[in-house]
Symmetry: D2
Subunit: 225 residues, 4 copies
Amino acid sequence: MMDVQFRSDFDVTLIDTMGSDHRIVQAAKVSTLGAESLEVGESEGLISYLMRNRHGSPFEHGMMQWMISAPIFVWREFHRHRIASYNEESSRYKQLAPVFYNPPPHRPAKQVGKPGHYTLTNDGQRASLAAGDMQRIQFEAYRAYRRLLSEDVAREVARQVLPVSIYSTCYVTMNVRALMNFLSLRNAPSALWEIRQVAVQIEETFSAAFPQTHAAFVAAGRVAP
Amino acid sequence: MMDVQFRSDFDVTLIDTMGSDHRIVQAAKVSTLGAESLEVGESEGLISYLMRNRHGSPFEHGMMQWMISAPIFVWREFHRHRIASYNEESSRYKQLAPVFYNPPPHRPAKQVGKPGHYTLTNDGQRASLAAGDMQRIQFEAYRAYRRLLSEDVAREVARQVLPVSIYSTCYVTMNVRALMNFLSLRNAPSALWEIRQVAVQIEETFSAAFPQTHAAFVAAGRVAP
Amino acid sequence: MMDVQFRSDFDVTLIDTMGSDHRIVQAAKVSTLGAESLEVGESEGLISYLMRNRHGSPFEHGMMQWMISAPIFVWREFHRHRIASYNEESSRYKQLAPVFYNPPPHRPAKQVGKPGHYTLTNDGQRASLAAGDMQRIQFEAYRAYRRLLSEDVAREVARQVLPVSIYSTCYVTMNVRALMNFLSLRNAPSALWEIRQVAVQIEETFSAAFPQTHAAFVAAGRVAP
Amino acid sequence: MMDVQFRSDFDVTLIDTMGSDHRIVQAAKVSTLGAESLEVGESEGLISYLMRNRHGSPFEHGMMQWMISAPIFVWREFHRHRIASYNEESSRYKQLAPVFYNPPPHRPAKQVGKPGHYTLTNDGQRASLAAGDMQRIQFEAYRAYRRLLSEDVAREVARQVLPVSIYSTCYVTMNVRALMNFLSLRNAPSALWEIRQVAVQIEETFSAAFPQTHAAFVAAGRVAP
């Protein structure tokens, strides 16, 4: 029996950060202090001022980096954020693992209304209904994938049978300004539920690494400067 | 019987261009002529000089725009080219049409050798073998998709069963410099076969719209300046 | 007597545009219509919807291109807009013409208050006072520049004496989304007076070429989507 | 007597780095190892392979950050590198210090030949000749600047008399891929002498922080991947 894993969660591992709230203050202070800006102290007030007045460039000197595992349909949205660096698992160069996403029962999955104006509600059934069908297709698709590989069909051809709900892993590096733009769009009510779960985890790492900047972002209505 | 379409080709429709070989010459000539650069004539020699000497910025003033239909696994590579603008069909907001990619018989599909060092050969069988399995999975996946939609499962959930070989349509706008970088990587022997077929069509529109620039790009070994 | 020109205005020449309000609608409609989006008609309402809801990407498929002459201190601000393409007159490769900027009498030039909180008022004197001193320095600097050139000092060395108020000419290509970001910051009360004069002229070409988009931008409070 | 400082050198202070040669290997290995890439060891061979084969994206996960002081005419070239983050001293918000660049005696300053084809030679005289004239203009310009400020002319107006050889300080953050592109163009024989002196210092910090990547860059002919 083929071992296929069905998941409803996402991995967000913080790898590294560069800079801090203090660094953002230093970079902003170069405008009035020049080289002496390296000597300034912290200033939550200045960060708040920059945020409210759309002085976005100092926030680019803070960087964050993660390794993230998420389904391909999440990556499809993520990669549209162009001011970022990505390296992803390759289905040309490796056999993808049989790990698939299934919507959990609490995922709002019932569509009500028209495109552009629809809302999703959680009726406690639709997500499970979908997960059932999905698992069957995911299982069949992965079996076909493996059979094709066993016949020496190229990975890059065989993978064409796989659904967009298969997991993939990616390194992501983003500056804090681009990150706030990402969070404003993806940790928001209109965002796809799944990318929002990823964004929530990312935002936790952000608020831990840049607490003053995060607080100012929230206070300013979650609009990226 | 559900109508599912299997295709092996790609649509590349040129929508618009801005500029020309002449414009690139004008933009380059501003460095030595200032505002009089608007009056200069064409110069194939200058274009060739710019290309060989990595003066890339003048090529950014030529633009091209297409509407392209290709499978999602092609878009996944395409969208990694960040210096470009994209708008794509949305599986959140519309029901995707049942159009799927199948590798044609002449697509090299047999993998020989190790990852990073493998080659693909066309043994006349593997592509057809793959296409057979694919069609079955694509058909089943689309049937599940339709069934879920009929149960009012949200489009954005139901589409998770669909394979990466389903077609999607995208508007793409790119400047000529970024385009040459795209072509240098994607109309090349190491490129994924399918994206190369798209790149070949794009390159035809490029050589028609910017013939001198295209000729210089080819003469310079297909390296983007 | 050396012929030095003192100016207080800026040249903005529209060279080309690509796309239109209609094109932006087409690009937006691909999300729900796929390839049929090419057939849709105009829709001022959709443009307004996109603007209000921060759906910025369709606006990237409209392009504008100008040739602009402005003092170097204006270019220093302009070039910080990185999502744009520039080619500029080179003081390494050509002798710069003796054309210098002087603030006109109506330019608010009296500083009142502290950095970050100062305001500028027009007292009818300060701009003229400044222009007087400027002309003397500009004249002396250009005379030194010419003398150095006559001694075969390299252009790229001799130009180091020239003030930031000397004019330079640049080709600029920008998509409509980036353009709206530029206008939101540079045709605004907090902007440098001189770059605002340039931005006002640019905005006129924008409103002529993309009237519905421009109207929606204004209606949405001049915030770029 | 007004204190004006004449300098011929440039300050490059490394502030921070993120990542390492090892990190670049990890990011590259995600393509074949997925999440297990975090466990791989160093690999100088892989870095060399990536460099030679134009696999540039892994190098974007290494970051460097400096504070740099250089004349405005150097910043004018630097800021054309758009894939980078900058915050600079503002002559709108602060009084610029009287620090000016003068070409040192060993700076090749005699122009021989035509634009586009000229060469510069060091005849032991031209740089000193230029420096003499420059100092006079720089001194006069700064005196005019101070006089205007003392009359409450706005900083942003008064600074228009200042030459492009005045120093300014900037925070610069750049990823390693963009950095190699910068170095390939700016630490090169065709580069402006002054920006090359800055680039040489930057390259020293790069080779110290990413020694394997730097060695591979040099071995690959100093072409950015």
